[in-house]
Symmetry: C2
Subunit: 216 residues, 2 copies
Protein backbone atom coordinates (compact mmCIF):
# COMPACT_ATOMS: atom_id res chain seq x y z
CA UNK A 1 0.00 0.00 0.00
CA UNK A 2 1.38 3.39 -1.02
CA UNK A 3 1.86 5.84 1.82
CA UNK A 4 1.41 9.60 1.47
CA UNK A 5 2.49 12.19 4.03
CA UNK A 6 0.23 15.24 4.35
CA UNK A 7 1.55 18.56 5.71
CA UNK A 8 -1.03 20.73 7.46
CA UNK A 9 -0.61 24.37 8.50
CA UNK A 10 -3.32 24.88 11.11
CA UNK A 11 -7.10 24.50 11.02
CA UNK A 12 -9.13 27.04 9.05
CA UNK A 13 -8.74 28.74 5.69
CA UNK A 14 -7.77 32.24 6.90
CA UNK A 15 -4.99 31.33 9.35
CA UNK A 16 -4.28 27.63 8.71
CA UNK A 17 -5.10 24.73 6.41
CA UNK A 18 -8.24 25.05 4.32
CA UNK A 19 -10.40 22.40 6.00
CA UNK A 20 -12.25 21.13 2.92
CA UNK A 21 -9.00 20.77 0.96
CA UNK A 22 -7.28 18.99 3.86
CA UNK A 23 -10.18 16.62 4.57
CA UNK A 24 -10.88 15.87 0.92
CA UNK A 25 -7.15 15.20 0.36
CA UNK A 26 -7.20 12.58 3.14
CA UNK A 27 -10.40 11.17 1.66
CA UNK A 28 -8.91 11.03 -1.85
CA UNK A 29 -5.87 9.16 -0.53
CA UNK A 30 -8.01 6.56 1.26
CA UNK A 31 -10.42 6.26 -1.68
CA UNK A 32 -7.55 5.57 -4.07
CA UNK A 33 -6.34 2.73 -1.85
CA UNK A 34 -3.31 4.46 -0.30
CA UNK A 35 -2.70 5.37 3.34
CA UNK A 36 -1.78 8.69 4.92
CA UNK A 37 0.09 10.12 7.86
CA UNK A 38 -0.33 13.73 8.92
CA UNK A 39 2.46 16.19 9.84
CA UNK A 40 2.61 19.85 10.82
CA UNK A 41 5.26 22.23 12.16
CA UNK A 42 5.36 22.59 15.95
CA UNK A 43 5.32 26.40 15.88
CA UNK A 44 3.13 29.31 16.83
CA UNK A 45 0.60 30.33 14.16
CA UNK A 46 1.33 33.67 12.52
CA UNK A 47 -1.97 34.89 13.98
CA UNK A 48 -5.53 33.80 14.76
CA UNK A 49 -8.36 35.05 12.54
CA UNK A 50 -12.04 35.18 13.48
CA UNK A 51 -13.48 33.40 10.42
CA UNK A 52 -16.76 35.34 10.58
CA UNK A 53 -15.40 38.90 10.80
CA UNK A 54 -12.02 38.29 9.15
CA UNK A 55 -10.41 40.21 12.02
CA UNK A 56 -7.38 39.18 14.04
CA UNK A 57 -8.15 37.78 17.51
CA UNK A 58 -6.02 38.48 20.57
CA UNK A 59 -4.96 34.82 20.93
CA UNK A 60 -2.03 32.58 20.17
CA UNK A 61 -2.42 29.06 18.80
CA UNK A 62 0.07 26.38 17.80
CA UNK A 63 0.10 25.04 14.22
CA UNK A 64 0.66 21.39 15.27
CA UNK A 65 -2.00 21.49 17.99
CA UNK A 66 -4.63 23.09 15.73
CA UNK A 67 -3.78 20.83 12.78
CA UNK A 68 -4.43 17.88 15.11
CA UNK A 69 -8.13 18.80 14.96
CA UNK A 70 -8.21 17.81 11.28
CA UNK A 71 -6.04 14.74 11.97
CA UNK A 72 -8.21 13.59 14.91
CA UNK A 73 -5.15 13.71 17.18
CA UNK A 74 -2.90 11.50 15.03
CA UNK A 75 -0.20 13.90 13.96
CA UNK A 76 3.59 14.18 14.04
CA UNK A 77 5.95 17.15 14.28
CA UNK A 78 7.18 17.82 10.75
CA UNK A 79 10.77 17.92 12.05
CA UNK A 80 10.48 14.12 12.45
CA UNK A 81 9.45 13.53 8.82
CA UNK A 82 11.70 11.04 6.99
CA UNK A 83 11.33 10.85 3.18
CA UNK A 84 12.44 7.20 3.30
CA UNK A 85 9.12 6.32 4.97
CA UNK A 86 6.80 7.69 2.28
CA UNK A 87 5.93 7.32 -1.40
CA UNK A 88 4.52 10.82 -1.79
CA UNK A 89 3.99 14.15 -0.02
CA UNK A 90 0.90 16.36 -0.23
CA UNK A 91 0.32 19.97 0.84
CA UNK A 92 -3.30 21.17 1.00
CA UNK A 93 -3.85 24.93 0.76
CA UNK A 94 -5.36 27.63 2.91
CA UNK A 95 -3.60 30.81 4.04
CA UNK A 96 -1.64 28.69 6.52
CA UNK A 97 0.59 27.60 3.63
CA UNK A 98 1.38 31.28 3.00
CA UNK A 99 1.42 32.45 6.64
CA UNK A 100 2.73 29.52 8.70
CA UNK A 101 4.65 27.21 6.31
CA UNK A 102 6.09 30.19 4.47
CA UNK A 103 5.83 33.97 4.64
CA UNK A 104 4.42 34.30 1.10
CA UNK A 105 1.29 36.17 2.28
CA UNK A 106 3.50 38.99 3.55
CA UNK A 107 6.66 38.83 1.43
CA UNK A 108 5.50 37.37 -1.92
CA UNK A 109 8.44 36.12 -4.01
CA UNK A 110 10.82 37.32 -1.25
CA UNK A 111 9.20 34.88 1.20
CA UNK A 112 11.06 32.50 3.48
CA UNK A 113 10.02 28.85 3.85
CA UNK A 114 10.21 26.96 7.17
CA UNK A 115 13.31 24.75 7.15
CA UNK A 116 11.31 21.62 8.07
CA UNK A 117 8.97 22.29 5.12
CA UNK A 118 11.93 22.81 2.79
CA UNK A 119 13.66 19.64 4.05
CA UNK A 120 10.53 17.52 3.62
CA UNK A 121 9.82 18.68 0.07
CA UNK A 122 13.45 18.63 -1.11
CA UNK A 123 13.96 15.24 0.53
CA UNK A 124 11.11 13.76 -1.49
CA UNK A 125 12.19 15.41 -4.75
CA UNK A 126 15.76 14.11 -4.23
CA UNK A 127 14.31 10.59 -4.08
CA UNK A 128 12.18 11.25 -7.19
CA UNK A 129 8.97 10.86 -5.18
CA UNK A 130 5.94 12.96 -6.15
CA UNK A 131 4.92 16.09 -4.26
CA UNK A 132 1.36 17.44 -4.61
CA UNK A 133 0.26 20.95 -3.69
CA UNK A 134 -3.23 22.51 -3.70
CA UNK A 135 -4.50 26.07 -3.90
CA UNK A 136 -1.83 28.59 -2.79
CA UNK A 137 0.63 25.89 -1.59
CA UNK A 138 2.33 25.62 -5.04
CA UNK A 139 4.00 29.01 -4.40
CA UNK A 140 6.25 27.14 -1.95
CA UNK A 141 7.45 24.95 -4.83
CA UNK A 142 8.22 28.05 -6.90
CA UNK A 143 10.15 29.53 -4.00
CA UNK A 144 12.16 26.33 -3.39
CA UNK A 145 12.89 25.30 -6.98
CA UNK A 146 12.49 28.37 -9.17
CA UNK A 147 12.19 26.40 -12.39
CA UNK A 148 9.01 24.38 -11.90
CA UNK A 149 5.82 24.00 -13.90
CA UNK A 150 2.78 24.63 -11.68
CA UNK A 151 -0.67 26.13 -11.41
CA UNK A 152 -2.34 28.44 -8.94
CA UNK A 153 -5.46 28.72 -11.12
CA UNK A 154 -6.01 31.96 -13.01
CA UNK A 155 -5.04 34.81 -10.67
CA UNK A 156 -2.75 37.04 -12.76
CA UNK A 157 -0.88 38.59 -9.81
CA UNK A 158 0.05 35.30 -8.17
CA UNK A 159 0.93 33.84 -11.60
CA UNK A 160 3.24 36.82 -12.26
CA UNK A 161 4.83 36.44 -8.82
CA UNK A 162 5.69 32.74 -9.31
CA UNK A 163 6.97 33.47 -12.83
CA UNK A 164 9.30 36.10 -11.37
CA UNK A 165 10.99 33.19 -9.55
CA UNK A 166 11.49 31.24 -12.78
CA UNK A 167 8.37 29.06 -12.61
CA UNK A 168 6.18 28.27 -15.61
CA UNK A 169 2.56 28.98 -14.73
CA UNK A 170 -0.19 26.91 -16.37
CA UNK A 171 -3.60 28.56 -16.33
CA UNK A 172 -6.16 25.97 -15.12
CA UNK A 173 -9.77 25.68 -14.09
CA UNK A 174 -11.61 23.45 -11.56
CA UNK A 175 -10.12 20.00 -11.09
CA UNK A 176 -7.33 20.45 -13.63
CA UNK A 177 -3.76 19.62 -12.63
CA UNK A 178 -0.35 20.86 -13.76
CA UNK A 179 2.45 18.29 -13.69
CA UNK A 180 6.18 18.97 -13.62
CA UNK A 181 7.61 15.76 -15.06
CA UNK A 182 11.17 16.46 -13.95
CA UNK A 183 10.46 17.36 -10.32
CA UNK A 184 7.34 15.14 -10.19
CA UNK A 185 5.18 17.88 -8.69
CA UNK A 186 1.39 17.94 -9.17
CA UNK A 187 -0.65 21.09 -8.52
CA UNK A 188 -4.31 22.15 -8.77
CA UNK A 189 -6.07 25.46 -7.96
CA UNK A 190 -8.92 24.42 -5.58
CA UNK A 191 -10.12 27.50 -3.65
CA UNK A 192 -7.72 29.81 -5.53
CA UNK A 193 -10.74 29.73 -7.86
CA UNK A 194 -14.28 30.55 -6.75
CA UNK A 195 -15.04 26.85 -6.27
CA UNK A 196 -17.71 24.62 -4.77
CA UNK A 197 -16.85 21.82 -2.37
CA UNK A 198 -17.43 19.10 -4.98
CA UNK A 199 -14.91 20.85 -7.25
CA UNK A 200 -12.40 20.73 -4.37
CA UNK A 201 -12.98 16.97 -4.07
CA UNK A 202 -12.37 16.60 -7.80
CA UNK A 203 -9.11 18.59 -7.64
CA UNK A 204 -7.80 16.65 -4.64
CA UNK A 205 -8.68 13.34 -6.28
CA UNK A 206 -7.01 14.27 -9.56
CA UNK A 207 -3.82 15.30 -7.73
CA UNK A 208 -3.72 12.08 -5.69
CA UNK A 209 -4.37 9.92 -8.78
CA UNK A 210 -1.60 11.64 -10.71
CA UNK A 211 0.78 11.27 -7.74
CA UNK A 212 0.04 7.53 -7.59
CA UNK A 213 0.71 7.24 -11.33
CA UNK A 214 4.05 8.99 -10.88
CA UNK A 215 5.04 6.44 -8.20
CA UNK A 216 4.98 3.53 -10.65
CA UNK B 1 -32.71 22.69 -5.87
CA UNK B 2 -33.25 21.12 -2.44
CA UNK B 3 -31.72 23.07 0.44
CA UNK B 4 -30.31 21.44 3.55
CA UNK B 5 -29.35 23.26 6.75
CA UNK B 6 -26.33 21.88 8.60
CA UNK B 7 -25.84 22.48 12.34
CA UNK B 8 -22.22 22.57 13.52
CA UNK B 9 -21.02 22.49 17.13
CA UNK B 10 -17.44 23.80 16.92
CA UNK B 11 -14.38 22.64 15.00
CA UNK B 12 -12.65 19.43 16.11
CA UNK B 13 -13.85 16.00 17.23
CA UNK B 14 -13.07 16.31 20.95
CA UNK B 15 -14.72 19.66 21.70
CA UNK B 16 -16.74 20.47 18.58
CA UNK B 17 -17.91 19.07 15.25
CA UNK B 18 -15.97 16.11 13.89
CA UNK B 19 -14.28 17.77 10.91
CA UNK B 20 -14.38 14.82 8.49
CA UNK B 21 -18.07 14.20 9.19
CA UNK B 22 -18.90 17.89 8.79
CA UNK B 23 -16.88 18.37 5.59
CA UNK B 24 -18.02 15.11 4.01
CA UNK B 25 -21.65 16.00 4.84
CA UNK B 26 -21.29 19.29 2.96
CA UNK B 27 -19.61 17.40 0.12
CA UNK B 28 -22.38 14.77 0.02
CA UNK B 29 -25.02 17.49 -0.17
CA UNK B 30 -23.26 19.22 -3.09
CA UNK B 31 -22.52 15.92 -4.84
CA UNK B 32 -26.18 14.91 -4.68
CA UNK B 33 -27.20 18.18 -6.35
CA UNK B 34 -28.59 19.97 -3.30
CA UNK B 35 -27.33 23.14 -1.61
CA UNK B 36 -26.43 23.80 2.01
CA UNK B 37 -26.38 26.59 4.55
CA UNK B 38 -24.43 26.27 7.80
CA UNK B 39 -25.66 27.20 11.30
CA UNK B 40 -24.23 26.98 14.81
CA UNK B 41 -25.21 28.27 18.24
CA UNK B 42 -23.62 31.59 19.26
CA UNK B 43 -22.43 30.31 22.64
CA UNK B 44 -19.22 29.56 24.52
CA UNK B 45 -17.83 26.06 23.94
CA UNK B 46 -18.09 23.76 26.95
CA UNK B 47 -14.27 23.63 26.93
CA UNK B 48 -11.26 23.56 24.61
CA UNK B 49 -9.36 20.28 24.20
CA UNK B 50 -5.78 19.92 22.96
CA UNK B 51 -6.38 17.30 20.25
CA UNK B 52 -2.89 15.79 20.67
CA UNK B 53 -2.85 15.30 24.44
CA UNK B 54 -6.61 15.07 25.02
CA UNK B 55 -6.22 17.55 27.87
CA UNK B 56 -8.28 20.65 28.55
CA UNK B 57 -6.64 23.96 27.57
CA UNK B 58 -6.97 27.15 29.57
CA UNK B 59 -8.88 28.95 26.81
CA UNK B 60 -12.40 29.91 25.88
CA UNK B 61 -13.75 29.67 22.36
CA UNK B 62 -17.13 30.38 20.79
CA UNK B 63 -19.05 27.62 18.99
CA UNK B 64 -20.26 29.87 16.14
CA UNK B 65 -16.83 31.44 15.59
CA UNK B 66 -15.00 28.09 15.56
CA UNK B 67 -17.65 26.41 13.38
CA UNK B 68 -17.07 29.22 10.87
CA UNK B 69 -13.67 27.63 10.15
CA UNK B 70 -15.45 24.63 8.61
CA UNK B 71 -17.97 26.89 6.87
CA UNK B 72 -15.27 29.20 5.43
CA UNK B 73 -16.92 32.14 7.19
CA UNK B 74 -20.42 31.65 5.76
CA UNK B 75 -22.42 30.76 8.85
CA UNK B 76 -25.54 31.95 10.68
CA UNK B 77 -26.52 31.98 14.34
CA UNK B 78 -28.81 28.98 14.87
CA UNK B 79 -31.31 31.25 16.64
CA UNK B 80 -32.08 32.71 13.20
CA UNK B 81 -32.89 29.34 11.63
CA UNK B 82 -36.35 29.17 10.02
CA UNK B 83 -37.67 25.71 9.05
CA UNK B 84 -39.72 27.30 6.26
CA UNK B 85 -36.48 28.04 4.39
CA UNK B 86 -35.16 24.45 4.19
CA UNK B 87 -36.05 21.00 2.88
CA UNK B 88 -33.91 19.11 5.38
CA UNK B 89 -31.68 19.48 8.44
CA UNK B 90 -28.42 17.63 9.10
CA UNK B 91 -26.34 17.29 12.28
CA UNK B 92 -22.80 15.91 11.89
CA UNK B 93 -21.24 14.34 14.99
CA UNK B 94 -18.21 14.92 17.16
CA UNK B 95 -18.27 15.51 20.92
CA UNK B 96 -19.58 19.01 20.24
CA UNK B 97 -23.04 17.48 19.70
CA UNK B 98 -22.80 16.01 23.21
CA UNK B 99 -20.97 18.91 24.89
CA UNK B 100 -22.17 22.09 23.15
CA UNK B 101 -25.51 21.28 21.47
CA UNK B 102 -26.58 19.15 24.43
CA UNK B 103 -25.09 18.05 27.75
CA UNK B 104 -25.23 14.31 26.83
CA UNK B 105 -21.48 13.79 27.42
CA UNK B 106 -21.95 14.75 31.07
CA UNK B 107 -25.58 13.91 31.86
CA UNK B 108 -26.42 10.99 29.54
CA UNK B 109 -30.19 10.42 29.27
CA UNK B 110 -30.70 13.28 31.79
CA UNK B 111 -29.09 15.73 29.35
CA UNK B 112 -30.49 19.11 28.38
CA UNK B 113 -30.61 20.26 24.74
CA UNK B 114 -29.99 23.87 23.69
CA UNK B 115 -33.36 25.53 22.98
CA UNK B 116 -32.25 26.70 19.51
CA UNK B 117 -31.26 23.11 18.63
CA UNK B 118 -34.57 21.79 19.92
CA UNK B 119 -36.53 24.46 18.03
CA UNK B 120 -34.70 23.77 14.76
CA UNK B 121 -35.20 20.00 14.92
CA UNK B 122 -38.79 20.09 16.15
CA UNK B 123 -39.64 22.80 13.61
CA UNK B 124 -38.50 20.54 10.76
CA UNK B 125 -40.24 17.44 12.14
CA UNK B 126 -43.48 19.44 12.54
CA UNK B 127 -43.28 20.22 8.81
CA UNK B 128 -42.55 16.57 7.99
CA UNK B 129 -39.10 17.47 6.67
CA UNK B 130 -36.24 14.98 7.13
CA UNK B 131 -33.60 15.37 9.83
CA UNK B 132 -30.27 13.52 9.52
CA UNK B 133 -27.84 12.89 12.36
CA UNK B 134 -24.37 11.32 12.32
CA UNK B 135 -22.23 9.61 14.96
CA UNK B 136 -23.29 10.67 18.50
CA UNK B 137 -25.74 13.36 17.29
CA UNK B 138 -28.69 10.88 17.17
CA UNK B 139 -28.80 10.92 21.00
CA UNK B 140 -30.30 14.41 20.68
CA UNK B 141 -33.20 12.89 18.72
CA UNK B 142 -33.72 10.29 21.46
CA UNK B 143 -33.72 13.04 24.07
CA UNK B 144 -36.20 15.23 22.13
CA UNK B 145 -38.63 12.56 20.91
CA UNK B 146 -38.22 9.50 23.12
CA UNK B 147 -39.89 7.13 20.69
CA UNK B 148 -37.63 7.22 17.65
CA UNK B 149 -35.83 4.54 15.64
CA UNK B 150 -32.15 5.38 15.34
CA UNK B 151 -28.58 4.05 15.32
CA UNK B 152 -25.40 5.02 17.11
CA UNK B 153 -23.56 1.98 15.72
CA UNK B 154 -22.84 -0.89 18.07
CA UNK B 155 -21.81 0.62 21.42
CA UNK B 156 -23.94 -1.24 24.02
CA UNK B 157 -23.83 1.51 26.67
CA UNK B 158 -24.99 4.30 24.37
CA UNK B 159 -27.61 1.96 22.86
CA UNK B 160 -28.93 1.18 26.34
CA UNK B 161 -28.97 4.87 27.24
CA UNK B 162 -31.09 5.87 24.22
CA UNK B 163 -33.39 2.90 24.79
CA UNK B 164 -33.97 4.10 28.36
CA UNK B 165 -35.58 7.18 26.76
CA UNK B 166 -37.96 5.06 24.67
CA UNK B 167 -35.89 4.91 21.47
CA UNK B 168 -35.51 1.78 19.34
CA UNK B 169 -31.82 1.21 18.64
CA UNK B 170 -30.79 -0.46 15.37
CA UNK B 171 -27.33 -2.00 15.45
CA UNK B 172 -25.47 -0.93 12.29
CA UNK B 173 -22.05 -1.06 10.72
CA UNK B 174 -20.14 1.32 8.39
CA UNK B 175 -22.31 3.29 6.00
CA UNK B 176 -25.60 1.76 7.11
CA UNK B 177 -28.50 4.04 8.01
CA UNK B 178 -31.49 3.70 10.33
CA UNK B 179 -34.65 5.47 9.21
CA UNK B 180 -37.63 6.49 11.33
CA UNK B 181 -40.44 6.66 8.82
CA UNK B 182 -42.81 8.54 11.11
CA UNK B 183 -40.44 11.29 12.24
CA UNK B 184 -38.40 11.14 8.98
CA UNK B 185 -35.08 10.94 10.81
CA UNK B 186 -32.03 9.29 9.21
CA UNK B 187 -29.01 8.25 11.30
CA UNK B 188 -25.64 6.53 10.71
CA UNK B 189 -22.76 5.68 13.09
CA UNK B 190 -19.67 7.23 11.37
CA UNK B 191 -16.88 7.62 13.97
CA UNK B 192 -18.99 5.96 16.70
CA UNK B 193 -17.36 2.96 15.00
CA UNK B 194 -13.63 2.58 14.46
CA UNK B 195 -13.95 3.92 10.92
CA UNK B 196 -11.77 5.13 8.07
CA UNK B 197 -12.41 8.43 6.32
CA UNK B 198 -13.84 6.74 3.21
CA UNK B 199 -16.37 4.96 5.43
CA UNK B 200 -17.36 8.37 6.84
CA UNK B 201 -17.93 9.64 3.29
CA UNK B 202 -20.12 6.60 2.58
CA UNK B 203 -22.19 7.15 5.73
CA UNK B 204 -22.69 10.86 5.05
CA UNK B 205 -23.66 10.16 1.44
CA UNK B 206 -26.16 7.46 2.40
CA UNK B 207 -27.79 9.77 4.95
CA UNK B 208 -28.07 12.64 2.46
CA UNK B 209 -29.46 10.35 -0.26
CA UNK B 210 -32.09 8.94 2.08
CA UNK B 211 -33.01 12.45 3.24
CA UNK B 212 -33.50 13.54 -0.39
CA UNK B 213 -35.71 10.48 -1.01
CA UNK B 214 -37.80 11.40 2.02
CA UNK B 215 -38.36 14.90 0.57
CA UNK B 216 -40.23 13.59 -2.46
Amino acid sequence: MKKIAVILSGCGVFDGSEIHEATLSLYAIAKEGASYEVFAPDRKQHHVINHITGKEMNETRNVLVESARIARGKITDLKRFDPDDFDGLLLPGGFGAAKNLSSWAFDGPGASVLPEVENAIKGMVAQKKPVGALCIAPVILAKLFGQVTLTIGDDPNTAKAVESLGATHVRTTHGEVAVDKVLKTVTTPCYMLNATIDQIAEGAENVVRKMLELMD
